[in-house]
């Protein structure tokens, strides 16, 4: 396939959902539910098929590297990325470029996004069937998919930023889709604003890069970071960096700032608070946006800026990820809302991915992104299926006050909803990291990566694997808690008892997604992913910053020995083994055994507590009262932020508004008042003193005027006579 064809396809993939959005937003209401469903789903179906083609050709096929650098779109192609660029607009002597690029990462993400979006389109036709804004929902799904694909297909950071903001707004609209509910509208706002904080960091990172490189293209900025010209200019002081920073600090800061975007979007600590609230949105939305795709965009971004991450940036990323993974897992244990548990589990898993990228296990992190997308989407869709069934059952019973999402109202669902139960169970196994699932493969290699990192970095670095393994155990525990409480045992309410399995359009996506969580899609060896295609095709990109700013153990070992000729042939280029990779191999088996053990423990404990009641859950709750409340209240983050950040801002707005209306405006009014007072005083002075004098004169004149008055007859001729006399006088005076 030629590069041009591939890019054309990518462009079509990008634009089809936009088309669906346009049709549905303008004509959806007139078309009705079925056509708008058909349009949206067809667009995504075609998208998915094209994505398959692109994926196959890019990842397994070969792309003719025909480059066309003449036209409006300038096409570049090499082994890693096929891309097109064009100048969006000119400014100064340069221009701002946009573009489209497909590499292996993007090709895999394309598949993930289009397939999940397609399945969610199908699923929603049942779930949203009774909603009066059905076409609007499909329109939003369309624009979201478009925006997400924008991020995926970006070959520069600006495109990513654009997509970033757009998915943010889509998320806002979809979370607040049922805006009649105040909680939904508030959750949407909270999500958007929290994301904006991260976006600001992203923006500042972009500005910092532009400052030095004047560009945002991956293939132009990253290589430039190590260019001799730049380094020489910086060393000689010919170029200076803002605030007198040195280059390493500057790169670290830029990386951290860009990563802030990921912190916001991927709900990392400390900006994770929006994601659980985002569950106010319709469940298909949660599956699509808040589990599989949009929240993973942060990880994707981190993967994209990998070449510019300094050692410090990576440590920062690793610790943030570890912290998030652990914290969210502990919160998930005690949540009662079906979707909230899943939400915190998402946060925790995202933390995993970020952590993986941070410790240097690039491929594992991205691998986990993909596997997690499948099983988390499946979990959410399954929860949607359960909630929908509960809703229907409530609808039949005429019950309206119960919370259909509270797991304490469920129980025993496995008898009524067999397919849902089986798929749910299977993906729960996957997320817990049980062998023969994709989750096992990815999680295992991440944990190996953290161990390797801790071994090489030492010291505090050991916190990372501890958090990772801890989170793994806890994940297994709460996922099985959820399964057992919701599906096993006896129905806790009448409603749960009367639930029914949903129709084909609901369960089909579940089955598809659950199937994708099997191991053999990624590697035929169920315990080692390293031999599968994924690890062969997705390689850690070459880090392009000067070596002194990188982790020493991440540098290629045989860098010195490698012959230049060899360096340029094919894949070998990036395959110079590093100390880190070797250590990771070392730790592969121990990590696997340890993770299996911990996951097994977690599962067993869950069964003990909730299935066989060996321990009484309520008693335990009482025993660990403080810990329980702490976890139940989500570590009091919301309260903390309300009290500090939000409280402070509201306080500031109050101060400023009062300052504005009282002080600034007060000064203006006071000066006006003073002026008018002065006017009045001078008026009085005028009245008494000056007028007095004037009146004196006036009275005198008045007397004289009485005489002259007779001359004033009101006739034109008299006027003229006087004028003439005046004229004559003037003549004699001046001539």
């Amino acid at each position: 396939m030629t590069a041009e064809n591939l890019l054309c396809m990518a462009l079509i993939i990008l634009l089809l959902p936009l088309l669906s959005f346009t049709i549905n937003i303008f004509w959806g209401k007139r078309l009705g539910k079925k056509p708008s469903f058909a349009i949206g789903t067809t667009a995504l179906g075609i998208d998915f098929i094209l994505s398959c083609v692109v994926f196959y050709n890019k990842v397994f096929g070969s792309i003719e590297t025909v480059a066309n650098t003449d036209g409006f779109f300038k096409i570049f192609a090499n082994d890693t990325m096929v891309q097109a660029k064009f100048t969006w607009f000119h400014v100064g002597n340069g221009g701002i470029q946009l573009g489209l690029g497909v590499d292996n990462l993007a090709a895999i993400m394309l598949l993930v996004v289009t397939l999940i979006s397609f399945l969610v389109h199908i699923f929603s036709s049942v779930y949203m069937h009774d909603d009066k804004r059905f076409p609007r929902f499909y329109a939003y799904l369309g624009i979201f998919t478009f925006s997400m694909l924008n991020i995926v297909l970006a070959n520069n950071l600006l495109n990513m930023y654009i997509g970033w903001e757009l998915v943010g707004i889509c998320s806002y609209l979809l979370i607040g889709f049922w805006y009649e509910k105040d909680s939904a509208a508030n959750a949407g706002k909270k999500a958007f604003l929290t994301n904006r904080v991260g976006d600001l960091g992203f923006l500042i990172g972009l500005l910092m890069l532009y400052y030095v490189f004047g560009n945002w293209m991956f293939d132009e900025v990253f290589p430039a970071m190590n260019s001799q010209d730049l380094l020489a200019a910086l060393a000689s002081g010919e170029k200076t960096l803002p605030l007198g920073m040195n280059y390493g600090t500057y790169l670290t800061l830029a990386g951290c700032f860009i990563f802030c975007g990921a912190i916001g979007k991927s709900a990392q600590f400390p900006l994770h608070v929006w994601l659980p609230d985002a569950m106010e949105g319709p469940t298909p939305v949660s599956a699509l946006i808040h589990a599989a795709t949009m929240v993973a965009a942060g990880v994707y971004l981190t993967a994209r800026i990998y070449p510019m991450m300094t050692a410090t940036t990576m440590n920062f990323v690793a610790f943030i990820g570890a912290m998030t993974a652990f914290m969210a897992a502990t919160i998930a244990i005690t949540q009662r809302d079906f979707k909230k548990v899943l939400a915190y589990s998402t946060v925790s898993q995202l933390g995993y991915m970020v952590m993986a990228l941070g410790v240097g296990a690039f491929t594992s992190g991205f691998f986990h992104l993909v596997t997690h997308a499948w099983f988390k989407a499946a979990l959410f869709l399954a929860s949607g299926s359960v909630i929908h069934a509960m809703h229907m059952s409530m609808h039949h019973a005429g019950e309206h006050h119960m919370d259909p999402q509270d797991i304490n109202n469920m129980g025993g669902l496995r008898n009524n909803m067999k397919i849902t139960y089986i798929t749910f169970l299977f993906v729960t196994l996957a997320i817990s990291g049980v062998p023969l699932t994709s989750g096992f493969l990815s999680k295992d290699s991440i944990l190996a990566g953290t161990l390797a990192f801790a071994d090489l970095a030492g010291g505090l670095g050991w916190l990372v694997p501890i958090a990772g393994f801890g989170a793994a155990g806890i994940t297994a525990f709460y996922m099985f808690r959820l399964t057992i409480v919701a599906f096993h045992g006896k129905p806790k309410t009448e409603i749960a008892k009367n639930t029914k399995e949903n129709s084909f359009r609901v369960v089909m996506p579940l089955v598809v997604l659950a199937t994708l969580s099997l191991w053999f899609f990624y590697s035929f060896n169920p315990i080692n992913a390293n031999v599968g295609w994924f690890y062969e095709k997705v390689k850690m990109p070459a880090v392009t910053i000067p070596a002194e700013y990188q982790r020493p153990y991440m540098l290629p070992l045989q860098q010195v020995e490698a012959a230049p000729a060899e360096m340029q042939t094919g894949h070998e280029q990036h395959h110079a083994l590093t100390e880190y990779e070797e250590t990771m191999h070392h730790f592969h088996v121990p990590a696997m055994i340890l993770s299996l053990l911990i996951a097994g423990l977690g599962i067993a404990f869950a069964f003990c507590v909730y299935q066989f009641r060996v321990f009484n859950a309520d008693n335990m709750e009482k025993q660990f009262k403080k810990l329980h409340t702490f976890s139940f209240h989500k570590w009091y983050f919301d309260e903390l932020y309300d009290a500090t950040v939000i409280g402070f801002i509201l306080f500031l707005t109050k101060v400023f508004s009062n300052f504005d209306s009282k002080v600034v405006d007060g000064l203006v009014n006071a000066s006006a008042w003073i002026t008018s007072r002065i006017g009045k005083i001078s008026g009085i002075f005028d009245g008494v003193v000056i007028d007095g004098a004037v009146n004196l004169v006036a009275n005198t004149t008045g007397a004289l005027g009485g005489i002259t008055r007779k001359l004033q007859t009101g006739k034109i001729q008299t006027v003229i006579i006087f004028a003439i006399i005046g004229l004559i006088t003037l003549i004699y005076v001046f001539a």
Binding site: Q712, T713, G714, K715, I716, Q717, I720, I721, I724
Partner: protein, 102 residues
């Protein structure tokens, strides 16, 4: 004595004075108007005289022409006003039209 600028100017001065005389002595509005025409003509005469002798050149002619235009406009409006006054007061004696007096 050849005819020079001064002769024309004297004629113009006399015309001007006569115009003034008409304006200040006559009561009939139309007579006042005629006096006004005399004054304008005297001014025109000056313009043309200066054009010929004073180096005002052709611009003097243009000025005279514009004065004529104004005179025409003024005559039309003034006569209309006269007619209007006539309709209101049933006479055209200007010294009885004294609404300007306050």
């Amino acid at each position: 004595m050849a005819i020079g600028l001064n002769e024309f100017l004297v004629v113009s001065a006399i015309l001007f004075a006569l115009g003034i005389f008409a304006i200040v002595t006559r009561k009939n509005a139309i007579m006042v108007l005629m006096g006004l025409e005399l004054i304008l003509n005297s001014a025109n005469l000056n313009f043309v005289a200066f054009a010929c002798f004073g180096g005002m050149n052709i611009e003097g002619h243009i000025a005279a022409l514009f004065v004529m235009i104004l005179a025409a406009a003024e005559a039309a409006v003034a006569l209309a006003i006269v007619l209007n006054i006539y309709q209101n007061y049933k006479h055209v004696n200007v010294d009885e039209v004294d609404s300007l007096k306050d």
